[in-house]
Each structure stands twice: as structure tokens, then as C-alpha cells.
């Protein structure tokens, strides 16, 4: 893998100072920083070929449409989907899940049906289903979680029933870092013909993603969490299912023929892409994917594992620090609390030391309720972080403890 200093040099923001201290960015779970090549791409779209896609016959529109479709192909190959038409651009993971919750709900859900979620879900994979269930009279069943932050698989198996219509689970818990056994979850659901949606928001950036090997029916992720721009996301769906689903938004480009008496919809993927899409975002996402591929997803995974191991060791040595989420299968996230010190006080002081962490419920209130806490301090690391930065965090936490006790 490329040298760490060279990698860091690719991300201009990592060189800046916060309150006169070098930035230590440990909020990668919330959003990742952008390499210069992504910033340059966005710049290039607007300065060299900005024009609306799929509409014009003119040169610029052709170029923008071509780049947008190339981005779709890039995403397809990155997640190893079978067909390009199975890649739908959305505004983000939230947008993708809302789309499926609506469309799938309209097509397949009726009174008394059940959807299975895990207790580890982000609000984005809870609320859209609640809204749908309310509309359709369906129910949500929840896979419980063990003390170390793993789903209890046997309980999941018990929840699967003739009433189950869909399973929607996260690939990785955003608040604890647990990697879920999605393949087994999918296998079990498929054995009784239940489709599965995987929320990949916290999974895709940490290793190789292969939707065909995983065999998920839907997969959702966000561009901004994978070093790409904000406001762009992806919904992957198997053709056979996507073709059955009604569109969730109406507008331009998603139609074949419109008259006031009847409108026929366009083919996949355009049926699900109403209005002017965020093409600069999609094209920027493609550049981010190229960048990650140049580093190698396996290399990224290895490096992040080393960081996690080092951080766990460093932080566990601090007296009074409790880590939430102790699964063996984890991404590089450490969620913790300090004894008798409010997470907010911890976060405020770390901030002034130039360390960016997230404090709160991480939009996963049910997880916090499960552990009987109001929230945690979350340090989420990624490949551009260093061991020195982990030391700075460790020293910072020790400073917090000395200030408040």
C-alpha cells in the first residue's frame, strides 16, 4: 500500500490546524474526507462540461451523460453487480432505503405482514419502515443484540415466519462497529424466499463488497462515507425485484410516454431516477472509487484492522474507560464512555485539542437504550489515520479525566 504520508497528502483537509493544533479526524463514520482527485473532478464537471444529462443532443449534454453512465458502470463493477441497470443513483443511503420502503411497501406489504430489522440499525433503516408499516398496517420485528454488541442469530431464526415479507439489516453497526453476518442472515431468509435489504453505509468503505456473492436483494450506500461527494448515494437491486416495484417519485426522465390520461414508465434504472440527478456527485463518486481501488480494498481493510487493534489496546489501558461493542468482528470504530464523565464534556475538551469525535446517540437510539446509556463518544478511524493520532487521542482522554475528576 502507498506510504501513509503520501496517502495523507492526497487529502488536503488533513493538513489543516484546529485551534492551532493539527487536526485529528476521527469522525469518519459520520463522513469521510475527500481526496484532491475527487475535489478536482467536481471542479472539472462544473468548469468543463456541466450540462443536463439524458436530454440534450448537444456536445456538453452528451459528455455529461456519458460520464454519468460511466459512473454507474464504475459502481456496478465496484460492488460486482450483474448488470448496470441494477444500479440506481439516489441522494444517499437514507434516500435509497426510503425508496425501497415506499416501493416495496406499495407492491408487497399488506395488513398483518412483518418486516425484520436488527436492534443495531441506524434511524435511517428504522424510520422509513415504520412509516411504511403505519401506512400498510404491517409490523416490525427486531433481532435482539447481545452484551458485546452482536445480533443473536438464533433469535433471528425464530423471527422468520410466514408473515415475514422482508429483512432489512445493516452490514456494520454505525454506533458500535459490529460487522453483522449478513451472508448467513440472507441465506436463512432466502431459504423461505424472503428478500433482504442490506444497509451498506458503514460497510462498503472498509473492504471488498460483492453483492452477488452476498446475494442480497437490495444494497444501499452513500457517496460521502466512501470518500466521495455528499448528496449522492446508490441503491442496488436485483433486476427481477426492481422490475416489479412501482417508482417512488414521479417526474422527468423516469417516463416513457406522458399524457393526461396515462403515463408509462421508463425502463430500469431510469424508472427510479426522476428529475435531474446529481450527476456531478455520481461522477465524483466514480473518482473516489478509482482512488480506493488504487489503494486496494484489501489493503484498506488490513490497515484499518491494525489501527483498530492499536486503538483498542491504547484506550483499554485507560482506567475508567469502557468500550461499547466488543465483537471480534468489528470495523475501526471505538465507542466509549468515561466513568462519571458526561460524553458531552469529553467531546468538548477533545474538540479543543483538535480531535474530532462524535458524541451522542449516533442516530441509533435503540442501541443506546439496549445498553442503558444516553450515548457514547465515538472515534471512527480509517486508512488515512495514524498510530500517532491514536496516541494523541489517548493523551487527550487522559487530560479529560484529569480535568473532570
Amino acid at each position: 500500500m502507498k506510504d501513509i504520508n503520501d496517502i495523507r497528502a492526497d487529502f488536503p483537509i488533513l493538513g489543516r490546524k484546529i485551534y492551532n493544533k493539527p487536526l485529528v479526524y476521527f469522525d469518519n463514520g459520520a463522513t469521510t474526507q475527500k481526496p484532491q482527485c475527487v475535489i478536482d473532478t467536481i471542479n472539472e464537471v462544473f468548469s468543463a462540461y456541466n450540462s443536463n444529462i439524458h436530454r440534450g443532443v448537444h456536445f456538453l449534454s452528451d459528455k455529461a451523460s456519458e460520464e454519468y453512465e460511466n459512473a454507474r458502470e464504475k459502481v456496478r463493477s465496484f460492488i460486482n453487480a450483474g448488470k448496470k441497470d441494477e444500479i440506481i443513483f439516489t441522494s444517499g443511503t437514507t434516500g435509497s432505503i426510503n425508496a425501497i420502503a415506499f416501493s416495496f411497501g406499495e407492491r408487497y406489504i399488506s395488513n398483518g405482514d412483518e418486516i425484520i430489522l436488527s436492534h443495531l440499525e441506524h434511524h435511517a433503516n428504522i424510520v422509513p419502515w415504520q412509516m411504511m408499516c403505519e401506512r400498510k398496517g404491517a409490523k416490525i420485528r427486531v433481532i435482539p443484540v447481545s452484551d458485546n454488541g452482536e445480533i443473536i442469530f438464533e433469535e433471528y431464526l425464530k423471527l422468520l415466519s410466514g408473515r415475514t415479507r422482508l429483512v432489512a439489516v445493516t452490514q456494520v453497526s454505525n454506533s458500535l462497529g459490529t460487522i453483522l453476518p449478513v451472508k448467513q442472515i440472507i441465506n436463512a431468509a432466502h431459504s423461505i424466499n424472503i428478500p433482504v435489504l442490506v444497509d451498506g453505509a458503514q460497510g462498503i468503505q472498509h473492504g471488498v463488497t460483492d453483492v452477488r456473492d452476498m446475494d442480497c436483494d437490495f444494497y444501499a450506500f452513500s457517496g460521502h462515507k466512501i470518500y466521495g461527494p455528499t448528496g449522492i448515494g446508490v441503491l442496488y437491486g436485483k433486476t427481477s425485484l426492481l422490475e416489479e416495484l412501482p417508482p417512488y417519485q414521479g417526474g422527468g426522465d423516469m417516463v416513457q410516454n406522458v399524457s393526461f390520461s396515462k403515463t408509462t414508465y421508463n425502463e430500469l434504472p431510469f424508472k427510479f431516477e426522476a428529475g435531474t440527478m446529481n450527476f456531478p456527485g455520481a461522477i465524483g463518486l466514480a473518482t473516489a472509487i478509482d482512488y480506493l481501488l488504487s489503494l486496494g480494498m484489501e489493503n484498506i481493510k488490513r490497515r484499518e484492522n491494525e489501527l483498530l487493534k492499536y486503538a483498542a489496546q491504547r484506550l483499554k489501558a485507560i482506567k475508567g474507560l469502557k468500550i461499547y461493542g466488543n465483537s471480534e468482528q468489528k470495523i475501526s470504530i471505538i465507542s466509549f464512555l468515561l466513568k462519571d464523565i458526561h460524553m458531552y464534556d469529553t467531546g468538548m475538551v477533545l474538540d479543543k485539542l483538535g480531535i474530532a469525535v462524535r458524541t451522542g446517540t449516533h442516530c441509533a437510539q435503540p442501541v443506546m437504550d439496549r445498553f442503558g446509556i444516553e450515548g457514547t463518544v465515538r472515534a471512527s478511524m480509517c486508512f488515512y489515520n495514524t498510530f500517532e493520532e491514536i496516541d494523541i487521542l489517548g493523551t487527550g482522554i487522559e487530560k479529560v479525566i484529569s480535568m473532570f475528576s
Binding site: 485551534y19 464523565i341 458526561h342 460524553m343 458531552y344 464534556d345 467531546g347 468538548m348 475538551v349 479543543k352 458524541t359 451522542g360 444516553e374 450515548g375 487530560k399 480535568m403 473532570f404
Partner: protein, 141 residues
């Protein structure tokens, strides 16, 4: 002391420190001087819900002036409430309503005022002013 005299003296105290850590230490110390709310008022009715730390604020009006007591589960937040109370407690409703809280800006806490910030400083100021407006209206009836 008037509202502004108190604000000026707080500003002066904070201006002695350059480093954020020292400013925080001062805030922590201020928190210790907070007139603590009677535990019976630590209920939902008196809770100002910020995103992450809880603040309870209780007003007591004697017909002329409003006295505030408060508490928070986070120590820095407690310091911030203590500052607000120092400036705005034991004042008439009119004084509170017309107070221009420039000290927040001057001591560098302005970033904590944005509505998305988690400590809810903005909600605290709003709540204090709302109590003043309510008592003021009551007085006129």
C-alpha cells in the same frame, strides 16, 4: 450590578486566559457556584432539552424579580448555565427581556450559540427570556 456590569466582569475574567483548556477550567469552576435547583424541580417540566446534555431550569418570581436555579448533567454545560444565571438571575422581567447578551460573543462561546450545537445554550437563553415574558405579562393583568 447591572446586567452589563456583570457581563463586563465575566468578560474580564475570561480575557485573562488565552488557552481553551484554561477557559474550560474557569467554566468548570463557575459551574460550582451555580445556585442548584431543588431536586423536586428536576422534572420534565423544567427540563430544557438540548441534544446531548440535560439542563433543568427553575424560575421563582417574587412579584418583582425572577430568581433562577438550575443544574446539568454535563459539567461544561453547568458552567454555561451558571454564567447565564449570574447575568440574568435576580432581575426584573423587563431587565431580562431587554438584556443584550454580548458577553457570550466576547468570551468566545458564540459558537455554542448556534441552534445545532449540542449544549443548547440558545435554548437556555430562549427559555429564560420566555419565563420573563410570561411573568411580565402576568404582572400587567
Amino acid at each position: 450590578m447591572t446586567v452589563n456590569e456583570v457581563q463586563d466582569s465575566i468578560t474580564e475574567e475570561f480575557s485573562e486566559f488565552e488557552e481553551w483548556m484554561d477557559k474550560y477550567n474557569l467554566l468548570i469552576e463557575m459551574g460550582r457556584e451555580l445556585p442548584v435547583i431543588d431536586p423536586v424541580f428536576k422534572t420534565k417540566d423544567f427540563l430544557i432539552e438540548g441534544c446531548q446534555s440535560k439542563v433543568w431550569l427553575h424560575p421563582e418570581f417574587d412579584g418583582k424579580k425572577i430568581k433562577f436555579t438550575a443544574d446539568s448533567d454535563a459539567i461544561i454545560t453547568k458552567g454555561i448555565v451558571a454564567l447565564l444565571i449570574k447575568v440574568l438571575s435576580d432581575r426584573t422581567p423587563e431587565e431580562i427581556i431587554s438584556a443584550d447578551l454580548y458577553f457570550i460573543d466576547k468570551i468566545g462561546l458564540r459558537q455554542n450559540l448556534s441552534p445545532t450545537r449540542s449544549n443548547g445554550l440558545l435554548s437556555m437563553v430562549k427559555q429564560i427570556k420566555l419565563y420573563a415574558i410570561a411573568y411580565n405579562a402576568k404582572q400587567k393583568i
